[in-house]
């Protein structure tokens, strides 16, 4: 993305040239936005707060997928499986070993990352459809493992009841309280994802995406970087999974399923592949669509009486699928790309090109 800067703005040293946030008013705007999010429980309705909470967790998962699919170009349908891994690790540490959630969260993320590494191993030999299949295998094998292995610990298909995180006696036991947790992790994950994307690691990822053979010839270690991408994606998924598990307070092998993995991929495309804003835009738009499906449900039930209760379940994939198809045909680079174009057009006004 060519960066267009307003006239009259000169950088006097490199640190300023590289800065993400360039002007004082942008700092103020960011501060106000974050403040507005953190104070949301005081003025937002309960459903709005829990929606924002859910969107926040989804954004974290999609950010991980963006590092793997958007930057590195490795297509993965296993994101939900890594979320399951993270959720189970965190739930077990808190429930059975009495750990604090805040110690369990990083361990869950790391554990999911290691599992991600294992399922990333085929990526050196195979790509394209074949890699999709390998990650799809993760999506079947990991939930199967939680259903069948160690029945006295993992409790088979019933799954686990997950405890509420507690910090100095403050219980995060409702969306109004949980949202602080989600937002804090989200801020860290966004900063980390942005820094990965503009460092050497991120450029190596992009080189692999654009042409892996050429990247290898140029001296990018393919195996190492593909595995790093899988690791990072699974770490993000693990953190998101742990957050979601403690939010829903129940976890089984179907909490995060194949449909979720497909939805995350779709969110990424709708938002914009390989752009930092992509996961944020995509997750918000698609989650709002799903909310819309819930709102439109009663209306559709009157149109299609044969579905009755299933209408909401039917509208969700239908809305999502149609949106994704329209984006793929008309705006394959996603909303974030359109956003950059609008910004550029604004800066160049009145000369549109």
């Amino acid at each position: 993305m060519a960066i267009l800067r307003p006239a009259g703005e000169f950088d006097t040293h490199y640190a300023r040239d590289m800065a993400t946030i360039r002007r004082p008013w942008q700092w103020w705007l960011l501060f106000a936005f974050i403040l507005a999010l953190y104070t949301l429980p005081f003025y937002g309705s309960q459903s709005l707060v829990s929606l924002v909470n859910r969107i926040g967790i989804t954004i974290i998962a999609v950010q991980g997928l963006n590092l793997l699919t958007g930057y590195t170009g490795q297509i993965s349908l296993g994101q939900a499986a890594f979320m399951t891994t993270g959720g189970y690790i965190s739930a077990l540490l808190v429930n059975n070993l009495g750990w604090s959630f805040f110690a369990a969260l990083p361990v869950a993320a790391l554990g999911a990352g290691i599992v991600g590494l294992i399922f990333g191993l085929p990526s050196l030999r195979v790509k394209g459809f074949y890699l999709v299949m390998a990650t799809l295998a993760a999506q079947f094998i990991i939930p199967w493992f939680t259903r069948n292995a160690f029945p006295d610990v993992l409790n088979r298909a019933q799954g686990l009841n997950v405890q509420v995180p507690v910090l100095f006696g403050f219980e995060f036991n409702s969306p109004q309280r949980y949202i602080y947790l989600t937002l804090t992790v989200l801020i860290f994950s966004t900063i980390a994802a942005h820094n990965v994307s503009r460092s050497r690691l991120g450029r190596a990822f992009v080189a692999i995406r654009d042409n892996d053979l050429a990247a290898e010839v140029l001296g990018v270690n393919l195996f190492k970087h593909k595995l790093q991408a899988f690791f990072l994606a699974a770490v993000y998924a693990g953190a998101a999974g742990a957050l979601a598990a403690h939010n829903i307070r129940h976890l089984n092998s179907e909490t995060f399923n194949l449909t979720d993995s497909v939805f995350y991929m779709g969110m990424l495309v709708v938002g914009g592949l390989g752009l930092d804003l992509g996961p944020i835009f995509g997750a918000i738009i698609v989650e709002l669509l799903i909310e819309g499906a819930t709102l439109f449900g009663p209306f559709f039930i009157s149109l299609f009486p044969s579905t009755a209760a299933g209408a909401v379940q039917a509208l969700r994939p239908l809305f999502f699928g149609i949106t994704l198809m329209l984006f793929l045909i008309f705006e394959p680079r996603g909303l974030a790309h359109r956003w950059y174009l609008v910004k550029a057009a604004w800066r160049l006004r009145p000369f549109s090109h």
Partner: protein, 306 residues
């Protein structure tokens, strides 16, 4: 291992491999001509079965007519999908095409749920469920001869599936259209430059895939009932396709049978944890194939150049 049950489970597994092979055939048909891996094949199959049910049960048409109408409709659906969803994707990166078929699967799943509802349907029995075939094998175990029971519906769906694969194989091998399709699969631009209308060929392969999916859907629905979960059979067909090789029509049969057999044999085990592994067996096989022979048994190895 439960040795008494092994022959029975092996045979049942092999028979179950028939519909898997037929689903895999639908995937290969599209992949061979247009280089698209169709993640929506399971939903095509579901749609075919639902439409057949709708014609025969809701409207009381005779079964052969219902099947015929469903086949025509599914061919049209295949054509429509190619024209509306996949043609704009020509020349787009692989990721977009994969996501397009994934989006398609979501749309079709949603449509099926919206139009037909999630209730379990009684699909008309094409083959009688009573009087299974009994075959006494020459093996003797614990002084008793081992008897293998073949359910009629499983056996006949296996036969139909096998026939379907053979017919498709012959079509590709011996007809002019089949030759054109094989040519298109080699190189789209080259095929176009010698005067093949590749979009017509893509459309044809999608229509054929729709027809094959409907046949598979009907066979599965008569043997295991009809509801929205019918589409999950495709999840066993993906590994079968990769095992057989993405471009190979005989490979679908071999892949389907191996996957079915593996599932059957694992289910014969005495240890419950191994028995439960039957559901993920296709994916365990898949991972082994990916690590040791990514091009599959009969697929072509591709050499990449910059």
């Amino acid at each position: 291992m439960n040795w008494q049950l092994v022959p029975q489970f092996a045979i049942t597994g092999l028979l179950a491999g028939g519909p898997i092979a037929l689903t895999a055939l639908g995937l290969v048909l599209i992949f061979k001509s247009s280089y698209i891996f169709n993640f929506a094949q399971g939903q095509l199959l579901l749609m075919g079965a639902l439409v057949t049910w709708w014609f025969s049960v809701e409207h009381g048409l005779p079964m052969w007519m219902a099947i015929l109408l469903a086949l025509i409709l599914s061919a049209l659906l295949g054509l429509a999908i190619e024209r509306l969803a996949l043609r704009p994707m020509t020349g787009q990166p692989l990721l977009s095409i994969i996501l397009m078929t994934l989006a398609l699967s979501q749309v079709l799943q949603g449509l099926a749920l919206l139009l037909f509802g999630a209730t379990q349907r009684n699909f008309p029995q094409l083959f009688s469920a009573a009087n299974p075939y009994r075959i006494t094998t020459p093996f003797v175990f614990n002084d008793r001869p081992v008897v293998v029971i073949l359910k009629q519906n499983l056996t006949w769906s296996f036969v139909v599936a096998l026939l379907g694969v053979l017919v498709m194989g012959a079509f590709f091998r011996f007809t002019k259209t089949g030759l054109a399709m094989r040519g298109t699969s080699e190189d789209h631009e080259l095929a176009q430059s010698i005067g093949l209308r590749i979009h017509r060929i893509f459309g044809l392969s999608w229509a054929l895939a729709g027809v094959v999916a409907t046949v598979g859907g009907i066979l599965l629905a008569t043997s295991s009932g009809l509801d929205l979960s019918l589409s999950v059979v495709v999840l066993a067909a993906f590994p079968a396709v990769l095992l057989g090789g993405l471009e190979s029509i005989p490979g679908t049969i071999v892949g389907g049978l191996i996957i079915g057999l593996a599932q059957g044999l694992v289910a014969a085990s005495k240890a419950p944890i191994v028995r439960n592994a039957a559901e993920i067996m296709p994916y365990v096989v898949l991972l082994i194939v990916l690590i040791f022979r990514p091009e599959g048994l009969f697929g072509r190895k591709r050499i990449e150049r910059i």
